[in-house]
Symmetry: C2
Subunit: 191 residues, 2 copies
Amino acid sequence: MGPKVKFTKEQIIETAFEIARTEGIESISMRKIAEKMGSSVAPIYVNFKNTDELNEALMDKIISISRNLLEEENTGNPFHDIGIASLRFATEYSVIFRDLVIKGSKFMQDYDKKMTLALIEEMQKDSKLTGFSVDELKTILFKMRVFQVGLSVMAASGLLPKDYSIQEMEDILSGTADDVIMSAKLRKEMQ
Amino acid sequence: MGPKVKFTKEQIIETAFEIARTEGIESISMRKIAEKMGSSVAPIYVNFKNTDELNEALMDKIISISRNLLEEENTGNPFHDIGIASLRFATEYSVIFRDLVIKGSKFMQDYDKKMTLALIEEMQKDSKLTGFSVDELKTILFKMRVFQVGLSVMAASGLLPKDYSIQEMEDILSGTADDVIMSAKLRKEMQ
DNA sequence: CTCCCTGGATAACATACGTTATATAATATA
DNA sequence: TATATTATATAACGTATGTTATCCAGGGAG
């Protein structure tokens, strides 16, 4: 064998993530990672074939973090949980969140698609939502997704009032959900 | 005098804009502009002191475009007009829109601040909105801004269903506006 | 103890960038 | 026509990037 390993794969990814978190994904560079670790670029190329491979590993870490955030929310209402998890990601990792938004980001698209189906099923079990057709549920869900994306983007881009807390975001999010649902019910009754 | 001018300031800005529109603001470079114009970088440096000055001119053009889009909407309902103009910008110049969203972008923040005041005044004249306090109007406006940002971002990031038209966006936008207003009225009556 | 494998450092190559110094050529004016 | 002006081209400098070839040194296998 050879000398002791001083710089692990995990340490490299963690360092890359730290740069992404503070300066943005685009400003990651091999030399910058190396400098931050106190090494040369050699250990990076031992662990990763090239930049693409490192970026893939970084995306895996980001996905895993967002998954953890979701699992930490456990009200049993996935509708609510996903909204809060997304808001937390957008506020705690705002730079990365904005980077992902620009990218067109398969990340966002996949995340979205995967959730939609599960959510519709959950909505059908919700007592507040009985009596709606699947199409009506889809419309409600879509409106809420739009609102949640808007709130997340505004949070990550400094477009919210100063000191707007996660709690306030949560309130306005569920408040708007109520608006949408209440109005849908009214429209149904008027028919 | 000297030889005829072959590359004007406007042509340079237009070329930079074209690169921004297709590849993103970040991927503008002096050499790329020059190549696209079929010139060297010299004409650019005659017309602009440096990259910063060119970027300023580019932002001016972007602002002017967004202003034009707004002026093309003329229903007299600024609430509606701003929403549609923003949606059109987000769809027609999606790459630039996303770039501006990331940037934290004074552009968005200024745009936002400037509009809020004018909008509140307009809302007070709206017959559908009589009886609301200023605070209630602010909440309604805020919810609509969030929804509109969300819809614009989703449009620009390919998160909407395929072939989702501007008309459909317009419908869901005004539909949600109705939801929010109707619910606010209901809550008021219940008090 | 010696050899060899391998993690790491160093430095180079190629590329792309902003910027600038210099050269060239075209044109209006004297 | 000659000259001064100036729009443009060319090429260089300095910097940052990804990638790779080469060298060094430490530690287990024989």
